[in-house]
Symmetry: C2
Subunit: 449 residues, 2 copies
């Protein structure tokens, strides 16, 4: 590899982002005598794969977030700074944060991805996303609040619109979220509310392509659709969402779905900091890199994880998922260490250990170690893997308690409407008309649960 | 007792508030054939006694909040409505909520209490309170954010002011919070931050009277002060906080404490809905009631818990605490049932089972069953009692996991800065000048952890 840095002394490594990629890079660089500064705007590492479970009241937000300072405490040479990175000065080798600038000798940018609304204003305005911990909590609050609101007097049509959730995107996130939401409604809220209310609930999964979980093989994809429909999810394939006006969702096939809640899980784009990187971006704003994950014109800058545009042997871009970010973070760190001794590293190659997606209690699909799994076995594998991946003992235990509660007792205790604007149905859009239509008190009560 | 209602048929009982009092009243009225409507602006019951532990990152908010619908599900005849009560029409026997009116035959008002700033504007503007779940989470976020901000370049005086927490009120809440905060700083944040930063932290407990925990006997009160000081808390007795300008706290003894954070735990007042009750209020806005906890002019309205003004044998007002609210809620419900049969109930009398307050790991004071306890035994009793009181199995287990983690490993995993304005140090006041003073990047980093 080009080794401008071979032999040259590298003192400070700056890593932007404490997600899967950045954290692994920092871990790989610990105890090496290097001065590593990890920067993140959050003070915690977020275990994104389980965000959808927070959004569906299965686990508490604290169970999938872990204080970064607690993680790196025992990592010699690694320091943390909680700050928002506002700009990059690659020529002067500086990272600009809201709290001042930081100089680096080598930089690893692992800022991850944000939701991609594909520039559709009405969707950007009305859709809900699921990228941050707060997104998940807001979503949970909203779903629960809408069910409370649905106990008020309104027409059946109004109630149905109020409780119709349109999930966009047939990828793992959309599929797992739709399945978990369906179970929340059926198994849990079904106990809290009348048949009239729960019966009005509707979950629609809209996917532009003619299948969900594209990367999986046909039979697993069909199995997934079958499971979703079994859970009561309406699967709409070959249709795209074109607009949302707050109370109606407009599909490309001409259909209009009366709904107050559009959940956008249809795509991501590289974090906005990429605008500070002077290269032509690939699809989704991802940054093209050389075979060593470095910027072509700045070999002292590595791009890893969701932000990096890397193609596999078949020239397809690598998907944006945790295992890839982790491998890239480790690879970048090892290359930096190799520089010290002037070693030549091999080009990055993703070692695909497989993929899995869960579709409600006891069902999942998996491609792993050359095996195709589905059903309970795949689900148990999913459970085990994610529990192991959860970063520390306590979180594992807390999540296990929640899951046991959920799966054994069909109960979810975390269905709390939290936040500042309590009582005022947080998150419900102004368009949510029903609460404005009121009949005399006695009638109001007659239908309430 | 006066029994205007003896024999008369009572159909609907409305209970305002799902706190300790209201929830117990509803439980007592379940399965009695009566139509009971429980109204709360939250969808969960909050276990207030442990709020301070959420504020000090010991346990997650979900561990002390429990969905009301899950609690009442098995209670025949009890329904729930999530709504804000905006007014009362006692003459027409109606409760007015933001979502319409509700008629009642008998009403139990158990709306609890809110923080009492004693009408000091500067304190109302700058002080932080600890009454709601969100208050606790905001407080946690603020404390953790201030420690992150303290890693920036600033003078020692600035850092000291930034990390000085003035806790006002030597009652159980103030004492327990101050102790838990001191342990958070020393045992947990001490591992995350440099000695320079942790050493700058300062916790001052200000109490107007010449002692903390007034209702306890002298030796226990002295023990409490001794413990607090052992934990590094500065205890300032005989001084009141008179004003706060965002960066300085002004005491009645002329002292001025440079601090960005004033924690107001000095008093509560009856919930604002009492303004809809046409009687002269007692101290703290509490509502005077007859010996049966009813409004004198409206015997069909019961006031229970923190809102009710009731005197003990010694003509002292009963304190505002959970056990009293629970007993009053049960008493009111039983009286209502007695009406059905025209029975005569006895006047309300509080059965004092004792009180306890914890002061950091392994130390507590307790007056129970005529016994005076302190130290580890009192602390273990406190642990056991609160675990038993926590409303359901799962929460008990989750709390236990957290406590074990905290007490055995001196670790608190919940120290997360959550919320919308991440990165921007949520909750820090604009006056928090230090972050605005910046030196060149390298220097910035030199002192950071």
């Amino acid at each position: 590899m080009k080794d401008e840095h071979a032999g040259t002394t590298i003192n400070r490594i700056v890593i932007i982002g404490a997600g899967f990629g950045g954290l692994r890079a920092a871990k790989t660089l610990r105890n090496t005598g290097l001065d590593v500064l990890l920067i993140d705007r959050q003070n915690y590492h977020l275990f994104q794969p389980l965000l959808y479970q927070v959004a569906t009241a299965s686990i508490e937000q604290e169970a999938i977030a872990y204080p970064i300072r607690a993680i790196i405490r025992s990592w010699d040479g690694v320091r943390f700074r909680m700050a928002e990175v506002t700009d990059l000065d690659l020529d002067r080798r500086r990272v600009i944060t809201e709290d001042g600038a930081v100089d680096y000798d080598m930089l690893i940018v692992a800022a991850g991805a944000a939701t991609n609304f594909f520039g559709i204003p009405s969707i950007e305005q009305h859709a809900h996303e699921l990228k941050s911990l707060q997104d998940a909590v807001d979503l949970r609050n909203r779903v629960l609040s809408l069910f409370e609101q649905a106990t008020l007097v309104m027409t059946d049509a109004e109630r149905r619109a109020l409780l119709t959730f349109v999930v966009v995107g047939g990828g793992p996130t959309g599929v797992e979220f739709a399945g978990a939401l369906a179970e929340l409604v059926r198994n849990v809220l079904g106990k809290d509310h009348t048949e009239e209310i729960v019966g009005a609930a509707r979950i629609v999964l809209v996917e532009m392509l003619d299948t969900v979980l594209t990367p999986y093989e046909r039979d697993l994809r069909e199995y997934a659709v079958e499971r979703l429909e079994h859970l009561g999810v309406e699967v709409r394939l070959g249709a795209a969402v074109e607009a949302m006006d707050g109370t109606r969702v407009y599909l490309s096939d001409g259909n209009v779905i009366p709904s107050h809640t559009l959940l956008w899980m249809a795509g991501v784009q590289a974090a906005s900091i990429t605008r500070a990187i002077p290269v032509d971006k690939e699809r989704g704003g991802r940054v093209p890199v050389d075979e060593y994950l470095r910027l072509v014109d700045y070999p002292d800058v590595y791009i890893v994880g969701d932000m990096a545009y890397v193609e596999d042997e078949a020239d397809n871009p690598l998907p944006q998922m945790a295992p890839i970010a982790i491998q890239q973070g480790e690879y970048a760190a090892k290359n930096i260490l190799a520089h010290q001794t002037g070693e030549i590293a091999a080009a990055f190659a993703y070692n695909d250990k497989g993929k899995m997606a869960v579709i409600g209690r006891g069902h999942a699909v998996a491609h792993a170690l050359g095996l195709k799994l589905r059903g309970v076995i795949a689900w148990l594998a999913w459970l085990a893997l994610h529990l192991m991946m959860l970063i520390d003992f306590r979180n594992r235990l807390v999540v296990l308690v929640n899951w046991a509660y959920d799966y054994l007792l069909f109960e979810r205790k975390v269905r709390l409407i939290t936040g500042h604007n309590v009582g005022s149905l947080p998150g419900t859009t102004v368009e949510a008309a029903p609460s404005d239509e009121r009949l005399p008190a006695v009638d109001v009560m007659d239908i309430s649960t």
